[in-house]
Amino acid sequence: MRAKYVLSEVMVGLWRNVTMSIAMIITMAVSLTMLGASGLMYMQVNKMKDFYYDKIEVSIWLSTDATAEQRTSLESSLKADPLVASVIYENREQAYNKFKSMFQDAPDFISAVKPDQLPESFRVKLKDPEQYDAIFNKYKNTEGIDEIIDQRRLLEKIFNILGSVQQMALVAASVMAVAALLLVGNTIQVAAYSKRREVAVMKLVGASNWFIQAPFVLEAVAAGLMGAILGFGALVLAKVLLLDGPLRDLTELLTPLEWGDVLIMFPLMAGAGALVSALTAWVTLRFYLRV
């Protein structure tokens, strides 16, 4: 009986002030979408780091006029180097084949390049990828080397961009959360005012505090959960329509976003939405329903 009473009070409460309820749910949804997106981006960046840091190498490009002697002496010193885990040599022909497969969609570009225009290179895998500077300093003045490139630097640029996008999403989520909080507070005030007679009688006959407050708190929680469901729907739509659609190539280049990760966001969003609404409602009631 009590559960039914409380539930019907919640629905009546949300309906009584329906425009405010909708505003509350929408702001909540936008805020939670931002929160979910930021969480996903955070997980994605970590996953990409795990995936790529294993594979990254230092590329040492030889200048086109490097002699075979210079090449072999460099190779032997690299192989003897205690910082180096493995060394792979790539000759002009291999570089050309790789180039061809990379730009297979642009045959004009390929035909403009001859195999001997591409430099030879060493792919050096370090025992500890952090030791790039030591390698760089050691070999930068060696004869016949054109350029030393740490792939990690390139990746870090991408990660930094993703990181700042994630932070922007978090900031947007917080700003929307403030708006959502104010709306929850206001909705609860209006609800408490419209039920002031009932509340007065309940206090008078000795209804327990939780019984008086529960419908109001649950009203806010229900709105928070609806916001979370909408926000989660927005994330799912974003994955289906955006990441798996027009942005497919980008997501395949980076690591693809998995459904499992998207699903994990739902309990996070629902939990955050419900908890924040409940707390706000409870604090508001402390001011407006003094017992």
Binding site: M1, S208, I212
Partner: protein, 220 residues
């Protein structure tokens, strides 16, 4: 016991000490602003005394933890001058509401509410809304709501203040009947007619002090 409201120049109740026995019927009388309504608020723990203690059913209400107050209030029924009924509920629903919000089932309400409405003389009018009832009938609903939980104490804050003399007498008969079931009745009033007719204990308050405490007293 003393009660001073914030911003008040003098205490609303100044060093007042009253003891009321179980089953008594007591009038608190005095002019407006004498502090008699403060007594009701103190007994309900709506306000706390600035000084001293309020003891109800041998329990110190002033020292009571705030989460215990709702339970404590279930042993007290309350009637006011302005009835305080819920306008969108029928007489039956108003009384049943008081039971349901303290966790009683609908089945209990179905058994008890018609009984108590019969007791206050509203048999047959269970499904009227407050605006379809006269002032006296509305106050009967309020009395039924206060009494439905069989409280030990019934507090009445000028219950006849909005009623004509004949209706007032009927309400008093009802309160008297409730008193005879063993319920302590504490009534605040400035209706001299009623006090004189009932001939019960009278405590007169003036400017926050007790000026008279008389068994079987009259007004003035």
């Amino acid at each position: 016991m003393t009660k001073t409201y914030p911003k008040a120049s003098r205490p609303s109740l100044d060093n007042v000490s009253v003891s009321i026995e179980k089953g008594e019927f007591v009038f608190f009388i005095g002019p407006s602003g004498s502090g008699k309504s403060t007594i009701i608020k103190l007994l309900l723990h709506e306000v706390t005394p600035s000084n001293g203690k309020v003891i109800v059913n041998s329990r110190d209400v002033t020292a009571m933890r705030s989460w215990k107050i709702p339970h404590f209030r279930r042993s007290i029924g309350c009637v006011f001058q302005d009835f305080r009924l819920l306008p969108n509920r029928t007489a039956y629903e108003n009384v049943a509401f008081a039971l349901e919000v303290i966790g009683k089932t609908k089945a209990v309400a179905r058994r008890v509410v018609p009984e108590v409405l019969e007791l206050v003389g509203l048999g047959g009018k269970e499904h009227r809304y407050p605006h379809e009832l006269s002032g006296g009938e509305q106050q009967r609903v309020a009395v039924a709501r206060a009494f439905v939980n069989r409280p030990l104490i019934l507090l009445a804050d000028e219950p006849t203040g909005n009623l004509d003399p004949d209706t007032s007498i009927e309400i008093m008969r009802l309160l008297d009947r409730i008193n005879r079931t063993g319920t302590t009745v504490v009534m605040v009033t400035h209706d001299s007619n009623i006090v004189n007719q009932m001939r019960r204990r009278v405590v007169e308050i003036e400017s926050g002090r007790i000026v008279r405490d008389q068994a079987r007293g009259v007004y003035g």
